[in-house]
């Protein structure tokens, strides 16, 4: 276990979620937009319409700024934010999928080289060569999605990896194909929405053609995406489906994303077949914000559905290894921590906190509480998913019996640690977080 990083009131998951949700926009524009660009460039050449080429120049420059500045950095941002909230989970993923990420990185190199060459050779090389470079970019960008989807799917359904530990057994998991098809469809929808923003900045003839293309691609993408999402849901494990139904927040977010899906489909329909008078950068950006909210809903569902795990069947949400992983020679930490104690095995506290006494139990309880809970909960009243709110009105003894002893029956990881550690954590929650009466030190230390 590593040092803890706490974000008061907002909580770590919100940090990851906001960056990850935003990242989907530029990353899917980056993967989807150049298929559309290839189509438009061919049209421009075949129909001799130079104004479409002018759009493509503007489109590419905007992609360089939107996707290769905010997109690439928020991509690293997901990685960083997940690291500072759940370093052991990132470490687990990296120690399995380092070559997967490294392979994806090779495709990033191809992307970056081809898009800059594409942009700086507009009108400078033959049409055939320019088209070929654009297509090369589109392919490389999509293959980077083919790779990352395997790792994303693994985090929901690790499949046979749990028994074999094999890279490809986890990569081609139960949700891999439906998720790849969903993301592939959605990249056209998101790229369509983005192209409509750029089309709104055009003043002349290309504008009407582009917004119609954007609408058609977007509509096709969102309808196909919805169908593949249904397929994805049929592949989810039973506990994930149960979480979606039972956790009020998750079912609400699912509804939000469904409604937004319908709104976006109508928007694309109007773009494709309407008169287009409403097309403008402001409307386009507004619809991107709506799309952002819809993606946020869908991503929240995906994230919460895998509770109580970060890596299902292996690591709990609080980074404690909950199950043996025989193929890699890893043993569950639950039994070890239950018998030896969590504090004994946490390297980042002073020696005098490892043994709980009548003098230090509140400090020790704070360490235990935060180690086990801070990955999902905030501490203070009024915070997001706040422990103080969830436990309001309980005494330390009540927290032990009503909550900590009963965690595993819900979508929460079980409390891990010795009985005295459990009481110390409960005392910290009751005395400090809830501001209750001082818990009897004798009860904490001796259990009576």
């Amino acid at each position: 276990m590593y040092p803890l990083f706490e974000i008061p009131s907002v909580g770590g998951p919100m940090l990851i979620a906001s960056i990850a949700t935003f990242h989907i926009l530029p990353s899917h524009v980056a993967t989807g937009a150049f298929w559309m660009a290839y189509f438009i460039e061919r049209k421009s050449i075949n129909e001799n319409r130079p104004e479409l080429m002018e759009f493509l120049k503007r489109f590419t420059l905007s992609i360089l700024i939107f996707c290769f500045v905010t997109g690439s950095l928020t991509g690293v941002g997901i990685w960083y934010s997940a690291t500072v909230i759940s370093p052991r989970a990132i470490s687990g993923l990296i120690h399995n999928y380092v070559w997967g990420w490294a392979t994806e990185w090779v495709f990033f190199i191809i992307e970056i080289v081809t898009i800059y060459v594409y942009f700086y050779t507009f009108g400078k090389v033959s049409n055939k060569t320019h088209l070929r470079i654009g297509l090369l970019y589109a392919l490389a960008a999509w293959i980077s999605m083919v790779i990352i989807t395997g790792i994303l799917g693994f985090m929901m359904t690790p499949g046979k990896w749990l028994t074999t530990g094999g890279f490809f057994d986890g990569f081609f998991n139960e949700t891999y194909w439906p998720q790849l098809f969903t993301r592939t469809s959605m990249m056209f929808a998101i790229a369509g929405a983005y192209a409509a923003v750029v089309a709104g900045t055009l003043k002349d003839g290309g504008r009407d053609t582009i917004r119609k293309i954007a609408g058609r691609w977007g509509l096709g993408g969102i309808i196909a995406g919805a169908l593949f999402t249904l397929w994805y849901y049929t592949k989810l494990p039973a506990n994930a489906l149960e979480n979606i139904q039972q956790i009020a927040y998750t079912s609400m977010m699912l509804k939000v994303s469904l409604v937004i899906g319908v709104v976006m489909a109508l928007y694309f329909l109007l773009l494709a077949f309407g008169k287009g008078g409403f097309v403008s950068p402001v409307v386009g950006i507004l619809m991107m914000v709506v799309l952002f909210a819809g993606i946020g809903g869908g991503e929240s569902v995906r994230e919460i559905a895998r509770r109580p795990y970060l890596i299902p069947g292996y690591m709990y949400s609080n980074q404690i290894i909950g199950h043996d992983m025989a193929a890699k020679g890893v043993s569950s930490e639950v039994e070890k921590f239950n018998s030896e104690g969590l504090l004994t095995n946490y390297p980042f506290i002073p020696e005098d906190l490892r043994v709980i006494t009548a003098d230090n139990y509140l400090k020790a309880g704070e360490v235990i509480t935060k180690l086990e809970c801070v990955a999902c909960h905030t501490m203070e009243a009024g915070g997001r998913n706040s422990l103080a709110d969830l436990e309001a009105g309980l005494t330390a003894a009540g927290i032990v019996t009503d909550i900590l002893d009963d965690l595993a029956s819900s979508y929460m990881p079980p409390f891990v640690g010795t009985e005295i550690e459990k009481r110390a954590a409960a005392a910290y929650m009751s005395d400090i977080l809830l501001g209750g009466e001082a818990t009897d030190a004798d009860w904490v230390v001796n259990g009576d």
Binding site: E6, V76, S126
Partner: protein
């Protein structure tokens, strides 16, 4: 808890999927390429601002070129930075995660500041696209952002090298500091040792620019000679500063590490001497010397990168940590996937790079045939 036991406990229990030395070599190689590009970004943005502020025909042309080049260079620098960041987490995970977790907000700020700096760079570039002055404020912001990001990354690297301090930093007085604002380690001489080469490498980059466009009959030869001359001078002056900083850094290292007796230090010193000789010689005909100096500058940065890793091994070796005894859980399939993709990827990028290289050196009419 004893430090070596702590480090061993913190290692990922699943082990590494291939020989650790392979990750180490890739980490050193990609870090060298990354820091080389960072150098050109720092030096290039400085020169772009400086020449725009100075004004005049040549200066504004140089500013426009360097601003445009820096947008590409910063993209490439970020991309190349991902790889060493990935590999360090494979073999030095206890160090990287411990240092980063104590400074969670700093590591998030690192990304935000680069993003804002990059956006400002585009404003700076677009404002000067027509060879006009102005926009310098955005340029300064970019330079400041990149340097500040470097300060954060340097601090994280320094924190990671001192596991003996971690508990004191994280729980001063026995109370955990979970705020993520820890900023505990900084070595100005080490930081400068990686930043001052920015001016050497950018100088050489400017010489290469002149060399590249020299064959174009429609380019202004006198301007290209001027650019190469300015670059060569800048590289020379920065070289002297770098030598002084090198001594400062080397002599300031903890004596017990015995780093100065390491053969890699002497190889790097020898390389530096050869490079200095070349830079002095290049003052006479900067354009002709550009290709060989370009190659030498990459090799020199690789030498620095190797020494950086050797130094890290010395630091962690004090606590009996060695990447070579990291438990392995071999995965041949995924290793083959990466290696095959890597080779194929190099072949694929040769095509667009070749097209761009040829197109840039030809007249507009001739390039249309490509």
């Amino acid at each position: 808890m004893e430090i070596s036991a702590m480090l061993s406990q913190l290692r990922d229990p699943m082990g590494v999927p291939f020989f650790p030395v392979v990750f180490q070599v890739l980490m050193v190689l990609t870090f060298a390429l990354h820091i080389f590009m960072v150098n050109i970004v720092v030096g290039g943005s400085f020169m772009a601002i400086w020449s725009r502020v100075k004004g005049g025909d040549y200066n504004l042309r140089l500013s426009k070129t360097l601003a445009k080049a820096t947008t590409v260079n910063l993209s490439v620098a970020i991309l190349l930075g991902i790889a060493p960041l990935l590999f360090v987490q494979v073999i030095y995970d206890p160090f990287w995660y411990s240092a980063t977790l104590m400074s969670g907000w700093w590591s998030m700020l690192f990304l935000l500041i680069i993003m804002l700096g990059f956006l400002a760079l585009y404003v700076f570039y677009l404002k000067g696209r027509n060879g006009t002055s102005g926009g310098g404020m955005f340029g300064w912001f970019t330079l400041g952002a990149v340097l500040f990001a470097g300060v954060i990354m340097h601090m994280l690297a320094m924190q990671s090298l001192h596991p003996e301090e971690w508990v004191k930093w994280y729980a001063p007085g026995g109370v955990m500091d979970t705020s993520g604002w820890a900023f505990n380690a900084f070595s100005i001489e080490r930081f400068l040792h990686f930043i001052v080469p920015a001016f050497i490498n950018t100088g050489i980059f400017m010489m290469l620019y002149a060399w590249y466009f020299k064959p174009r009959s429609d380019m202004d030869g006198a301007y290209l000679d001027w650019v190469a001359g300015v670059g060569a001078k800048m590289a020379l002056y920065a070289f002297f500063v770098q030598i002084a900083i090198g001594f400062w850094f080397l002599l300031g290292l903890p004596a017990e590490l015995n780093f100065i007796y390491n053969p890699w230090v002497w190889i790097a010193a020898l390389l530096a001497l050869v490079a200095l000789g070349m830079v002095v010689k290049a003052q006479k005909d900067p354009i002709a010397s550009a290709p060989i100096l370009g190659l030498l500058s990459v090799v020199a940065v690789l030498g620095m990168s190797i020494n950086r890793e050797v130094l890290r091994m010395k630091y962690v070796g004090v606590y009996e940590y060695s990447i070579y005894d990291y438990p392995m859980s071999m995965d041949w399939g995924s290793t083959a996937l990466f290696l095959a993709t890597f080779v194929a990827g190099l072949v694929v990028i040769a095509y667009p790079i070749g097209i761009a290289f040829k197109a840039g050196r030809m007249s507009a009419e001739a390039a249309k045939e490509l």
